[in-house]
């Protein structure tokens, strides 16, 4: 068995996250799916770091985590303010930009 299995697992997790973004209507769950996609990319980065024998992949995964934390904070604040004005956390209700 080679570390390839980790990469395949990461690909499947990424796909599940992407499908979740497309399927779910709740903005917070959509956000969680994005976190899952970032996590799966992290897994593949760590695996590549191991395959290549250098720590650069782990550094990149670390930066992905930093960006994910900042993104989660801002995104959740946006969801909160949308909820305050529209009384709903569904992505279908935030449609004012359409018109």
């Amino acid at each position: 068995m080679s570390p390839t299995y980790y990469l395949v697992l990461a690909a499947i997790l990424f796909t599940i996250g992407a499908v979740g973004v497309l399927v779910r209507r709740n903005a917070i769950v959509v956000f969680m799916c994005i976190e899952l996609m970032l996590n799966s990319v992290n897994l593949s980065l760590v695996t590549f770091s191991r395959i290549n024998g250098s720590l650069d992949g782990q550094i990149m995964a670390f930066f992905v985590m930093v960006v994910a934390a900042a993104e989660a904070v801002v995104g959740l604040a946006i969801i909160m303010s949308i909820y305050r004005t529209r009384r709903s956390a569904s992505v279908d209700d935030a449609n004012l930009l359409k018109y």
Partner: protein, 271 residues
């Protein structure tokens, strides 16, 4: 050191295989459960499970620093933040079943399966015979944390400094977005609130739910002396549970007292 020796040093050995085949399905189950569960809080808990498994994978793959950061930052901080926001948003956290675009879910699932097949097959084929170099050498001097720190403060110093700008921007942005603008002086102080309450129609506190009823659940409304329900005691955001006898008003107070002594609770316990 020859390539075969390196490969032998980093072959995925017995214990790791077992760990992978145990934790991998758990991670998959967590992610699928996250997408499928209707309740957003259940989704968050499923995602925590997946993230824990990924943290274990990092530990297994010679990345102990990232494994610790994964568990502390992701499951410990970010997911708690999600749960906080879910609790703030409140009852709206369950998903709507209405499909805005016809056939969108089916199309998304079909495309997802296809995408997983294509990308998984591609990665599997492209990296099937790859020889893993392993991190034993890279982690040798000073260990994983020391090496990551050295890289972070030498080769990746610029990116690291930009990260601080990103984080401060995110913190300020979140504060601005979550802030509610109020006119100065528009907020009532304790004194004004007390005066308004005494002058208002109800100076006393609201009756607590379940106080004079037959159960102590918060979902049971309080009863007035005549046996009717005190409307003010209904908790908001809860489906009140009333026993049929109380709702019909057929129970007199004497019967109430005998039941409250615990002799016969049939028919009046919480549904």
């Amino acid at each position: 050191m020859t390539g075969t020796v390196v490969l032998a040093a980093d072959a995925v050995t017995g214990g790791e295989v077992v760990a992978f085949w145990i934790l991998g399905p758990i991670a998959l189950a967590g992610s699928i459960g996250m997408v499928l569960s209707r309740n957003a809080i259940h989704s968050a808990l499923w995602l925590v499970l997946t993230m824990m498994c990924l943290g274990a994978f990092y530990f297994i793959q010679q990345a102990p620093f990232l494994g610790a950061v994964q568990i502390i930052v992701y499951t410990g901080a970010i997911m708690i933040l999600f749960l906080f926001v879910l609790m703030l948003v409140g009852r709206d956290y369950s998903d709507s079943i209405v499909e805005t675009l016809r056939g969108q879910r089916v199309a998304a699932i079909v495309l997802g399966v296809g995408f997983a097949g294509v990308i998984g097959g591609l990665i599997g084929n492209a990296t099937a015979g790859v020889e893993s170099a392993g991190l034993a050498e890279a982690n040798a001097e000073g260990g994983n944390v020391t090496e990551i720190a050295r890289l972070l403060f030498t080769d990746y110093l610029l990116a690291f400094e930009l990260t601080s700008a990103l984080l401060i921007t995110a913190a300020v942005g979140a504060m601005i977005l979550a802030h509610i603008e109020r006119e100065p002086g528009s907020r009532l102080g304790q004194k004004e609130q007390a005066i308004a309450r005494v002058k208002g129609p109800r100076p006393q506190t609201l009756p607590g739910p379940g106080v004079f009823a037959r159960g102590d659940s918060v979902a049971q409304p309080a009863l007035l002396p005549d046996g009717s329900i005190a409307e003010d005691s209904r908790a908001t955001g809860l489906d009140m549970r009333e026993s049929p006898a109380i709702a019909a008003g057929t129970i007199d107070r004497g019967e109430d007292i005998t039941v409250d002594s615990g002799a016969n609770r049939d028919g009046v316990t919480n549904r």
